[in-house]
Each structure stands twice: as structure tokens, then as C-alpha cells.
């Protein structure tokens, strides 16, 4: 095994190395050092950025590990997406961690990095075994991270400084952040899904006799038992994306888990889930438009509808964004349901847009809440006047999420609808565009709080430099790519095309063990 065979995997490997470096640095730094957080966080961001830069330099295309992994534009696109999300997530979390868990910061970064490794492998996996392992590598650290704020519950329960709180009485009633509950819900649903996935896979793999995606189906109609297996896999993977009806953990976890982590959780693992879904259902089935296409379309419709409707009455912005995320993933599934290159690229584009918009929104929310505020609409009251920067950013992210022009989200929705329309999913396009208006309704409720409600306190929330930088980066990306979407669109198209090519030309035949020629 030469390095060359691992070259396509160099990015995840680099991140693995980064995780180890951070782990070691954590051990090396004195536990009570004041600069511990800055060093660890800075290191993580630097390493992630380094890998990101490397992704532009190193050619990662090709087969690795006997064809169990294929590197192409698609994997590169997702790798960058995860790296950016990771870097932003770390930037956003740094000050929070420093303040709340100064001694456990290393764990946080390491776990995050390991999760990213898993994510980065998923899009290129061509072997179910690799896929499952990578998928779990992505998922298991998240359970831990969700429970990371285990001591937060007590802290939030009693408002430390009533003068800075929105309303003491309100704050006392407000649901405190029971990280344990958030984590346990995420975990229970996740573990169940894993079990369902595994059971489904056992049927599929058993029938096929191979774990290679390319060999799962022959030309003939799959046996019923295989179909059932595939459907169970679909159900299992849908948990991660959070589509209806596997979405119920989403708002609760978003509400309970630490917000900087939720910012990451709400975008990166979803992209990972989508990647897994694409791998299994497009590559695994050899493009058979079967029951699953329709099933995915149904899931998309259900997610768009239920997610948007449920977001309407929410007053806690985290829950609101949670349900909106359910709906947003419905849109992505709409793109997946097209099953063609264009759909895949628009899905990739959408996910990239979603990273900036949704992370940005969560980070703004975190910035407001972190300085003695709350996460609900009342907490945002008058934000635009307390801090024009945060107000403007929040507005931009909300508009982007709602799909309003000159924000990246507009193009994302537009491309998806266009692709879906071209694939003949006219009904879903109509449904989606009408529901987008419902979406706008609740996003504007948030904007309303930030812009129209009188502020209850004049002082701008204190925002740390890293968090501010993260928000600014999101804002620049969401607005800049909104004004000039061509580069991202090109690269997403390329990504979609590369995946689709490997589909149409057929993935290389399953390579027999010991054949190192590739």
C-alpha cells in the first residue's frame, strides 16, 4: 500500500492528524493557562484552514482503498464544505467554551474534528462498510458534544444578572437548557436509527453478497427483501438529515444543546447525511428510479410542509430554526429526488448556502443570548438598534434562509426549484414555492423582533472577536455569493457532474482483494 492509494483520502487523513495534534496540544498545555482556549481554538481553526487550502492544491481524485473510496469533485466540494463549517463552528464556539468549560476545550475540538473526518469520508465511500463506519464516526462524537454543556443546565436556570436579563419573570419560566435531555433525545433516536440502518443493510448486503455499492443491484428488478432493506436504510439515514417523520429530535436538541454546537450540528451532519443518502440511493441502486425516488419525494413534501407549519408558532428561535431546518432539508431532498446531475449539484449548492445562512443565524442568536440574553424572540427585541452589525447580519441570514434575492439562499432555492421542475416534479415545485412564503412568514417574525420591537435594553451584546469573525465570514459569504453566485455554482455543477459521471459510466467493477493496481 503506497501513499498514492491513499492520496484521495489525504484530506480526511489530514484532519485526523489535526485532531491528534489538538489532542496532544490539549495535554501539553497547562490546565489553568489563561490562553489555553485561544491556543487550542486558534490551532484548530488554523489546521482546518490549512486543510482547506490544501484541498485547492492537492489533487484528491481517484480511487483509494481498493475502490472503497473514490475521490472526485463531489468529495472535494463536500470536504471543503465540512472544513468551512468546522472552522466556523470552532470560531463561534471558542469564547463560549472558554467561559463555560475552560478545562474541557481540547475534547470539544478533538471530537469535532473526528466527526468532520467521518463526514469527509462519507461522500466518497463506495463500500457500505466504509460508509457505515464513517457515518458512525460522524455521529457518535455528536452525541457527546450535544451533552457537552452538562453543567450548563444549572447555570442557565438561575439568571445570573437579572438586570441584563430580558425579563426576570420570563427568564425564570423560560425553558432552561437541559443539555442532558437534548443529548438523550438525539442519542435515542440516533441509536434506533443506527439499528434500523444496520438491519436494513443486513438484508441488502445479505442478498447482494457484497458490500460494494456498485454490486448491490444487478440489472434485474431487486427482490422485495432487498427493497425492504433499502427502505429501512433510507429511514435510518433520514434521521441524520432530520426529515419528517424522523425529525422530532431536531428542535429539542437545538434548544437544549449549546448553541455554538447547534450551529455546527444544524449544517454539517445534515450535509453528511445527504451525502450518505446520495451515495446509497444513487450509486448503490445504479440509478434505478424505483420506489425510493418516489419515497424521497414524499419525504421531501412531508418535510417541507410539516417543517414550515411547525416553525410558524415557535417563539424560541432555536426551535424555529430547527423546524425551518426540517423544511430546508425537504428542499434538498427535492433536489435529490430528481436523481440527475443537475439535482445533485443544486443540492450541493443548497447545502453550501445553508452552511453560511444557518450557521450565521445560529451564531448571531448565540451572540445575543451569550451576553445575558435569551434565545427566544423577546431576547432579540430591538437587536438592530442594540447592535446594527448583529441586526443586519441576522436579517441577511434570515433573508437568505427564506430565499430572497441577492442572498445566496435565493439562488439555492431557485436552482433547486429549477432542477426539480426540469425533472418533472412540478407539483413539488409549486408546493415548495408556496411553502417558501410560509417560511418567509416566520423568518420575518424573527426579523420583526429584531427590527420592530422596542429594545428592552440599550447596550449592545458583548461579542467576542472570534464569534464576530465567524458571523462576519458567514455574512460575507452569504451576501457575496448572493451577488456573484457563479463561482459556487460552477464548482457545485462540477461536483454534481463528477458524481453523476461515475454513475453513468458505472463505478469501477468491484475490485478483488489484493488488487492494488488502482
Amino acid at each position: 500500500m503506497t501513499f498514492d492509494t491513499l492520496r484521495p483520502l489525504v484530506l480526511p487523513l489530514a484532519v485526523t492528524a489535526a485532531a491528534l495534534v489538538v489532542l496532544l496540544a490539549d495535554l501539553a498545555l497547562p490546565p489553568n493557562s489563561a490562553r489555553r482556549g485561544k491556543v487550542l481554538g486558534g490551532l484548530t481553526v488554523a489546521l482546518l484552514s490549512g486543510v482547506l487550502v490544501a484541498s485547492f492544491v492537492v489533487d484528491t481524485s481517484g480511487l483509494a482503498a481498493h475502490g472503497a473510496y473514490v475521490g472526485n469533485a463531489w468529495t472535494t466540494f463536500f470536504a471543503r464544505l465540512f472544513l468551512v463549517a468546522g472552522a466556523l463552528g470552532v470560531l463561534g464556539a471558542m469564547e463560549h467554551l472558554e467561559a463555560h468549560a475552560p478545562r474541557r476545550q481540547g475534547e470539544y475540538y478533538t471530537l469535532l474534528l473526528f466527526s468532520i473526518v467521518g463526514m469527509m469520508i462519507v461522500p466518497g465511500a463506495r463500500d457500505l462498510l466504509l460508509l457505515v463506519v464513517a457515518f458512525e464516526l460522524m455521529g457518535i462524537p455528536l452525541y457527546i458534544l450535544a451533552a457537552y454543556a452538562k453543567t450548563d443546565a444549572a447555570k442557565t436556570r438561575k439568571v445570573s444578572d437579572p438586570a441584563r436579563a430580558f425579563d426576570a419573570a420570563e427568564a425564570a419560566k423560560a425553558p432552561h437548557a437541559p443539555a442532558a435531555e437534548a443529548a438523550i433525545k438525539l442519542y435515542l433516536v440516533g441509536a434506533t436509527s443506527t439499528a434500523i440502518t444496520l438491519f436494513g443493510l443486513s438484508l441488502v448486503v445479505g442478498m447482494a453478497g457484497t458490500t460494494r455499492l456498485a454490486g448491490l443491484f444487478g440489472a434485474e428488478t431487486p427482490a422485495p427483501i432487498t427493497v425492504v432493506g433499502m427502505m429501512l436504510v433510507l429511514a435510518g439515514l433520514s434521521f441524520k438529515i432530520g426529515v419528517v417523520p424522523f425529525h422530532m429530535w431536531v428542535p429539542d436538541t437545538y434548544e437544549g444543546a449549546p448553541t455554538p454546537f447547534v450551529a455546527f450540528l444544524s449544517v454539517a451532519p445534515k450535509a453528511g447525511g445527504i451525502a450518505a443518502l446520495v451515495v446509497v440511493f444513487l450509486l448503490g441502486t445504479g440509478g434505478h428510479p424505483g420506489h425510493w425516488t418516489l419515497a424521497i419525494a414524499v419525504l421531501a413534501a412531508a418535510s417541507m410542509t410539516i417543517g414550515n407549519l411547525l416553525a410558524l408558532p415557535q417563539t424560541d428561535v432555536r426551535r424555529l430554526l430547527g423546524f425551518s431546518g426540517v423544511a430546508q432539508m425537504g428542499y434538498v431532498l427535492l433536489a435529490i429526488a430528481t436523481g440527475n446531475a443537475e439535482g445533485l449539484s443544486t443540492a450541493a449548492f443548497y447545502l453550501a448556502a445553508y452552511v453560511f445562512s444557518n450557521m450565521g443565524a445560529f451564531l448571531v442568536l448565540h451572540a445575543v443570548a451569550a451576553d445575558g440574553g435569551t434565545h427566544d424572540l423577546a431576547g432579540l427585541a430591538g437587536l438592530s438598534r442594540r447592535s446594527p452589525f448583529l441586526g443586519l447580519s441576522l436579517l441577511a441570514f434570515l433573508l437568505s434562509l427564506a430565499g430572497i434575492p441577492f442572498m445566496i439562499g435565493f439562488w439555492a432555492k431557485l436552482f433547486i426549484f429549477l432542477a426539480a421542475y426540469r425533472a418533472g416534479l412540478v407539483g413539488l415545485v409549486v408546493l415548495g414555492s408556496v411553502l417558501a412564503v410560509v417560511g418567509l412568514f416566520y423568518y420575518l417574525q424573527v426579523a420583526r423582533a429584531a427590527y420592530m420591537v422596542e429594545p428592552t435594553q440599550a447596550a449592545a451584546p458583548r461579542v467576542g472577536g472570534a464569534l464576530r469573525a465567524a458571523i462576519l465570514l458567514c455574512l460575507l459569504a452569504a451576501a457575496g455569493l448572493g451577488l456573484w453566485p457563479a463561482p459556487l455554482h460552477e464548482s457545485a455543477s462540477e461536483a454534481g457532474a463528477s458524481l453523476s459521471n461515475s454513475l453513468s459510466t458505472g463505478t469501477p467493477a468491484p475490485v478483488s482483494p489484493g488488487d492494488d493496481s488502482q
Binding site: 433520514s238 434521521f239 422530532m248
Partner: protein, 611 residues
């Protein structure tokens, strides 16, 4: 599209035509654009008056030219551009009719403005300036109408005089009754104007132009002329749209003289004269005109009998005289109608101004507050009596000739019914004018009348000026007829003139007996008074407005807010309510979430097993 014979580009129009049209326009613009000037009052009046004098001079020049050279000329430019072609003519059309009318309008307007200098003197400067600004605008609009080369420009002028009338009736805008009267006048004439607009559309569709001399079929001519006549009924206050005119007396008296007696209300008659080519092809319309005109003449004269307000008497008299004109036009005598228009303009303006002079002196409109003014205001009294005699058709005065012409034209039509009506009207006219004369100027002074003084120069000069045509215009009927392309022969001896003259004299005599001597009390008028007091025609409109229009509007408003908007609200509400209902599923119990996952998985698996 070919221009009519004699059409010239606008640049070549003679300077007087420009002056007549644009001098008042410039005055109006200056007064609109320079509030400082306007609000100072007196300077504004001079601006307007200068413009009017210029316009009058121009009108004289134009008339003289017409008398010398005759012919008809059009100078114009296209006002609209549609499908690559000009549509609608903007410019001037000079011929006998427009030159005559222009002069009448300008002279009366100038007289009225001079009169106003004195009459409105007590107004605050801003109001005084505003008044003269309106006058400038009015003169421009009226000249625009008179000089119009086609019906579109005529309509523009028509609407603009309507708007000016609205502004001037409502001049005392702080008086609620003035506001009501202004609205009523505008609404009713506007309703009638819809007919004009429709006529324009029909004409445009069939001919592609708005010219009245375009070749049309008889059917089109009937439609267009019928629609135009509907507009005339409103503007010229014919039954049943006459109700606005008496109310319009809420405006300052000079305004009543100019707009609501001499010129604006006569615009309807002028329109028929202008559009004669259309009306000539529409016998049906003419028949209706004859009936409506003569009916209105008699009806309004009856109403005039019992008015106690001197201006209202004159207002109903105006209705009645306009009925004469319409009847003449309906009978086919274009010049008859037009000539009566001209004479009426002068003597009715004279009457109104003289009445204004009286009102100025006694501070009341009511006849009951006057009396014996002949000694205190000799000039006013004399001119008023001359005007009244002219109106009553006393031989030798202008009114006699024109009325004679009208009566002659309807002779024998419809079994003499219109003729009879107009003859009766002639008698009644003399009677009610006699009534006013004897009540106001003879007998004992009542109320303030005892302290009245003769008005000043600026009030009297216009009276004297207007007396001249009121007396003498009849004797120049022949050249005027020639200008209008008609012929006129003076015949003083005949059944009709003698009958009319004696009826006029008889009316005066009866009035003298009843109101001058007081020897005869006319109890026959009592039922008429009661009938008038019911305001039956007005009631119909009031019901239409308050009980129908406003109620329907309220119902529609309700429907819009509660049903149509309600539907939108309901849709929005149901989305939110749906979200609220769905929230219950999110119980917070992790096991329920897992249950959903399992259900979803089972559903998907079942879906997969479906064939």
C-alpha cells in the same frame, strides 16, 4: 388621416388666436406659480384683468377679421400619438361661430371681472387673489372650449369649466352649503359628461377622429348626438339634470353671472351649434331636444315664479332660457339657438350683475329685504329693468329678436305643443321678471333696503357696458347670422312677434297689478309654492345618492373587508393554527420520537413492498 380643408399647422396660427387662448392661461399659471403675488390680492386681479382685456382685444380683432374675410380656418397639432399617428387635435378653429362666441365670452368675462373688483373688495387678499386666479383659469378653459377644432379639445374645455365652476361655487368653502352646492354641481354635470365621453368613443371608433364634421352614418350621428345631448342636459341645466343650477347660486354673484348664466351653462348650447353636422343627421335627437328644451323652459319658468331669492329667480330663468335655446336647436334653427345664446349672455349677465349690485347694497339675497331701491340705486335699477325687459322680450330690445327667432322656429312642431309651451313661458318670464322688478325696486323699502346706497364705479361701469348689447344686439342679427352661415330677415310684423310682444307686455302688466299695485293677490301660486317646497326632483337624486350609492358602497366595503380580505386572513390563520395543532405531536417524550421513527421506517418498508 387627412386634415380638413383649411387646416394649418399650429405654428401658423394668427397671433390674436394665441393671445385669446393663452393670455388667460399665462395669467392662471402665473397666479398658480407665484403664491406671493396671488396672496397679495389686488395684483392678482390686475394680472387676470390684463389677460382678459388682451383676450377681449384679440377676440375683437378676430371677429373683425371674420366679418371682413369670413371662412373657416383650423390651426392645430396632434395632442396624442397612437400607433404612429397623431390623434386628437389641439389648436384653434376660427370661424363665424367661434369668433362670435369668443367675443361674447371675453366681453362678459371682462365685465364680470371688473365688477368683481368692487364686489369682492371686502374679501381678504388671499381669497381675492384666489378668486381672480380661478377667473383666469375659467377664461382659459372657456376659450379652449370655444376655439376647439374638435370635440376632444372641446371636451377638455368643457370639463375644465366644470372644474372651475366647482371651485368658484365653492369659493366660500367655509360655508357648508357652498360646499354642498359645489359638489352637487360637479357631480351632476360630471354624470352628464359621461355621455360626452361615450360620444367621443363612439366617434373615435367609427371615424378615427374627434371631429364633428367627419362623415358618419345616420345611426352613428344619432348615437353620438344623443350622447352629446345628454352631456348638454347636464351642463345647460335641462330637466331633469337642472337641479344643480339653483344651488350653484351659493357662489359669489359675479360668478353666477359669468358661469351660471352667461357662458358656461351656454356651453351646452354652443356644443350643439358646433356639432350641428352631427345633430343635423339625427332627427330623433333633435325631437328629444325640442321636447326637453320647451319642457324645461316652461317648467323652470313656473319654478321661477315662486322663488324668494333674487338669484334663484334668475337661476331658474336661466334654465328656462337655456330651454329656449335647446328647443330652437331641436327645431333645427341653429342660428336661432345661437343668437338667443348671445343675447341671453349679455342681458342675463347684466341682470345678475345688477342683482349683485343690489345684494352688495342690501346684504341679502331675499326679495323680502329689498324694495324701493329705484330711488336709492337709480343706475342699478335702470339697468336691471332694461335687462328684465330684454329678457321678457319687450320689442326693440335684444331679447325680443332672439326669442322671436326661437318661437318662429318651433312654430307648428308637434301639434304646436312646444310652441304653446314657449309662448306660455314668454308670458311667465315677463311675469316673474316683473315680480322681481316691482318687489325690489318699487314699493316700500324693507329691511336694509332703506339704507342702501348706489354702488361704486367698478360695479356700475360693467352694468352700463352690458346694457348696450342687451338693448342693441338685436339690430345686428343679420351680420351675426351671416357669420354663422345663416340668413336672418328682420320681420317685426307677424303673428308670432306680435303675440310674443303682447304676452311679454301682458306679463309685466300682470306683475304690476299683483306686485306693483298689490291690488290682486295671486293665491293660485300657493299650490305651486307647496309643490316647490317638496323638492321632489332633488329628493330623487338624494335617495339615489344616500340610499343607493352610499349603501351599496358600504355593502361592498364590508364584503371587501370581511369576505375577500377575510378569506386571505383565514388562509393565514389556518396555516398558523395548523402549526399550533401539529405542535401537540411534539410531546417532548423521547420515546414518542422513537415511535415516530419506527412508524416512519415501517411505512417506508411497507411502501417498498407495494408492487
Amino acid at each position: 388621416m387627412s386634415l380638413p380643408v383649411g387646416a394649418l399647422p399650429l405654428e401658423a396660427a394668427p397671433i390674436p388666436a394665441f393671445v385669446a387662448l393663452f393670455a388667460p392661461a399665462v395669467a392662471a399659471l402665473v397666479l398658480a406659480a407665484a403664491p406671493a403675488l396671488r396672496r397679495r390680492g389686488a395684483p392678482a386681479s390686475w394680472v387676470t384683468l390684463t389677460a382678459s382685456l388682451l383676450a377681449t382685444a384679440a377676440a375683437v380683432t378676430l371677429l373683425v377679421t371674420q366679418l371682413r374675410e369670413g371662412g373657416s380656418h383650423v390651426w392645430m397639432a396632434s395632442w396624442l400619438q397612437i400607433n404612429g399617428a397623431g390623434v386628437g387635435d389641439f389648436g384653434v378653429r376660427l370661424d363665424g361661430v367661434s369668433a362670435t362666441m369668443l367675443l361674447v365670452v371675453c366681453v362678459v368675462a371682462t365685465c364680470v371681472q371688473v365688477f368683481s373688483l368692487g364686489y369682492m373688495h371686502d374679501e381678504k387678499p388671499p381669497a381675492f387673489g384666489r378668486y381672480f386666479a380661478y377667473h383666469a383659469l375659467f377664461l382659459f378653459s372657456m376659450n379652449l372650449l370655444v376655439l376647439a377644432p374638435d370635440l376632444l379639445q372641446l371636451f377638455a374645455g368643457w370639463e375644465l369649466v366644470g372644474a372651475t365652476s366647482y371651485l368658484l361655487i365653492g369659493f366660500y368653502y367655509q360655508k357648508p352649503s357652498a360646499g354642498q352646492a359645489a359638489l352637487k354641481a360637479f357631480w351632476i354635470t360630471k354624470l352628464a359628461d359621461m355621455g360626452f365621453l361615450m360620444a367621443l368613443m363612439v366617434l373615435y371608433k367609427t371615424t378615427g377622429t374627434f371631429r364633428w364634421d367627419a362623415a358618419v352614418t345616420a345611426a352613428t350621428a344619432t348615437t353620438v348626438s344623443g350622447l352629446l345631448f345628454f352631456a348638454v342636459v347636464g351642463k345647460s341645466a335641462q330637466f331633469p339634470l337642472h337641479i344643480w343650477l339653483p344651488d350653484a347660486m351659493e357662489g359669489p354673484t359675479p360668478v353666477s353671472a359669468l358661469l351660471h348664466a352667461a357662458t358656461m351653462v351656454a356651453a351646452g348650447v354652443f356644443l350643439i351649434v358646433r356639432a350641428n353636422p352631427l345633430f343635423a343627421h339625427a332627427p330623433a335627437t333633435r325631437d328629444v331636444m325640442l321636447l326637453v328644451g320647451s319642457g324645461t323652459a316652461l317648467f323652470a319658468a313656473c319654478l321661477a315664479l315662486v322663488q324668494t331669492d333674487i338669484k334663484k329667480v334668475l337661476a331658474y330663468s336661466t334654465c328656462s332660457q337655456l330651454g329656449y335655446m335647446v328647443a330652437a336647436l331641436g327645431a333645427g334653427s341653429v342660428f336661432g339657438g345661437f343668437f338667443h345664446l348671445a343675447t341671453h349672455a349679455f342681458f342675463k349677465a347684466l341682470l345678475f350683475l345688477a342683482a349683485g349690485s343690489v345684494i352688495h347694497a342690501v346684504h341679502s339675497n331675499e326679495l323680502a329685504d329689498m324694495g324701493g331701491l329705484r330711488r336709492r340705486m337709480p343706475v342699478t335699477a335702470t339697468t336691471f329693468i332694461i335687462g328684465a325687459m330684454s329678457l321678457a322680450g319687450i320689442p326693440g330690445l335684444a331679447g325680443f329678436f332672439s326669442k322671436d327667432l326661437v318661437l318662429a322656429s318651433v312654430e307648428g312642431r308637434y301639434g304646436w305643443v312646444p310652441f304653446g309651451a314657449l309662448m306660455a313661458t314668454a308670458f311667465l318670464t315677463a311675469f316673474y321678471m316683473g315680480r322681481v322688478v316691482f318687489l325690489a325696486f318699487f314699493g316700500e323699502a324693507r329691511g336694509h333696503a332703506g339704507h342702501a346706497h348706489e354702488s361704486g364705479g367698478s360695479l356700475l361701469v360693467p352694468l352700463l357696458v352690458l346694457t348696450v348689447p342687451s338693448v342693441a344686439l338685436g339690430w345686428v342679427a343679420a351680420p351675426l347670422a351671416h357669420l354663422s352661415g345663416a340668413t336672418y330677415e328682420l320681420h317685426l310684423v307677424g303673428v308670432v312677434p306680435i303675440l310674443a310682444a303682447s304676452l311679454g307686455l301682458g306679463g309685466f302688466a300682470l306683475a304690476w297689478v299683483v306686485y306693483g299695485r298689490g291690488t290682486l293677490v295671486v293665491s293660485a301660486l300657493a299650490p305651486l309654492e307647496r309643490l316647490v317646497a317638496t323638492r321632489a326632483v332633488n329628493r330623487v337624486y338624494e335617495v339615489g345618492y344616500r340610499r343607493v350609492l352610499l349603501v351599496v358602497a358600504d355593502v361592498l366595503g364590508w364584503i371587501d373587508r370581511y369576505l375577500i380580505d377575510g378569506l386571505m386572513n383565514f388562509l393565514g390563520w389556518s396555516a398558523v393554527a395548523g402549526g399550533r395543532a401539529l405542535r401537540r405531536v411534539q410531546t417532548g417524550n423521547a420515546q414518542d420520537y422513537v415511535f415516530a421513527v419506527v412508524l416512519g421506517a415501517i411505512a417506508l418498508a411497507a411502501w417498498g413492498l407495494l408492487p
